[in-house]
Point group: C2
Chain length 214, copies 2
Amino acid sequence: MPPLSRARIVSAAIDLIEREGADAISMRRIAAGLGVGVMSLYNHVPNKAALLDAVAETVLSQLAFTDDPGAHWTERVRIQARAFRQIAHHYPRSTMVVVSRHLQSTAGLLPVERALATLREAGFDAQDAVHILRTFIAFIVGSLLREVGVTPTFAPTLRAEAPGVEVDPLLFPEVGAMAGFFASYDHEETFEYGLDLLVKAIAVRLEERRGARG
Amino acid sequence: MPPLSRARIVSAAIDLIEREGADAISMRRIAAGLGVGVMSLYNHVPNKAALLDAVAETVLSQLAFTDDPGAHWTERVRIQARAFRQIAHHYPRSTMVVVSRHLQSTAGLLPVERALATLREAGFDAQDAVHILRTFIAFIVGSLLREVGVTPTFAPTLRAEAPGVEVDPLLFPEVGAMAGFFASYDHEETFEYGLDLLVKAIAVRLEERRGARG
DNA sequence: AGAGTGACACGTACGCTGTACGTACGTCAA
DNA sequence: TTGACGTACGTACAGCGTACGTGTCACTCT
């Protein structure tokens, strides 16, 4: 058995979260999973909050970039957005931990740097690039939060939402009429729809900016 | 003193959350705030999770609609999006509770109904309307989550982000160059930027759809 | 009037939580 | 050899959610 270390503790915490959910996690259970006493953890981690921060940071650092420098900038933006969704599929239950903690470490800074570079290369000025990035992050975080909340296991990408709930068509005519679209829910299609909407929107904005300058 | 009731308990819970944060909330403290025993709460609420659901539902139901049927549909979409942000300002600490719980009650259905009606009137078909709505909700939830996380008190709309953190300009040239834009952070401006992006994007999409049909 | 019934406030108790503190044991430096 | 230090661990405490039993009402039905 290798000696206890911060990395091993974080890894055990992630495993536990993925196996039993974010609510089930406790210092005692993490220690039990590692076969050590509870208080031994505190030699490597100051407290539980810091441990959860480390979990979020570790998950975020797994972000895989398959950037293609030759591709059109709109495609590169899509690729980077999908990369975020990718780790949410790898660590579904931990995703809730990631998005619900606010962290400003360098772990989250690398993707930011990449995204800003892509946007600057496309021709946006600094102000626009920052705003656009924040818009995309908001969209991605909101999307992942819904996906995680709706399907804790993430397994079926298509499922019935709110199976037992029936709405009164008189009170909610629109919702009732679209019940079919609400019932079948393809997360990927929904994500791609929003992503496409945003990418095309900033493409239009770039044209405007170029027109105003030239 | 009026008799204990579900409404009074939920109200006390919201007050406590706003005063001391979502982490500080416990059944014992809520009961103490109401001047009753802990177990009395369980005569009106099945458990803590249900109470938090009720909190989320109550906060969400405060959503104020100042819809203007005469306005252009793009403006009506903006108004409805801003209404969400409005309650986040009224109940900043509870907002975290709202967005982190997944609820499918009729409380959250009324705004959905309104939004879908607006989009259908604008000319979108059912499929597009649902996708667009989900995109907007993702963006709004993601935005509010960031605003809540960055400024727990919500008080200063302009503040320095990550005050002590200095980035290495060699590792992160883009981030370093835009440090100024990261440092000053106007939540409202950021939200409006993304909202404008999305509204214009769906306006373009509507034109495409009309062109394809006509 | 008396008996029965249900709703509700409450106290106690159990198993769980995070973590402060003291202790014991290993390795390395002087 | 002696001391210091890092680490593992046990104990202990305050606080948590809530299952369960008890007491006290208001009310209904005989």
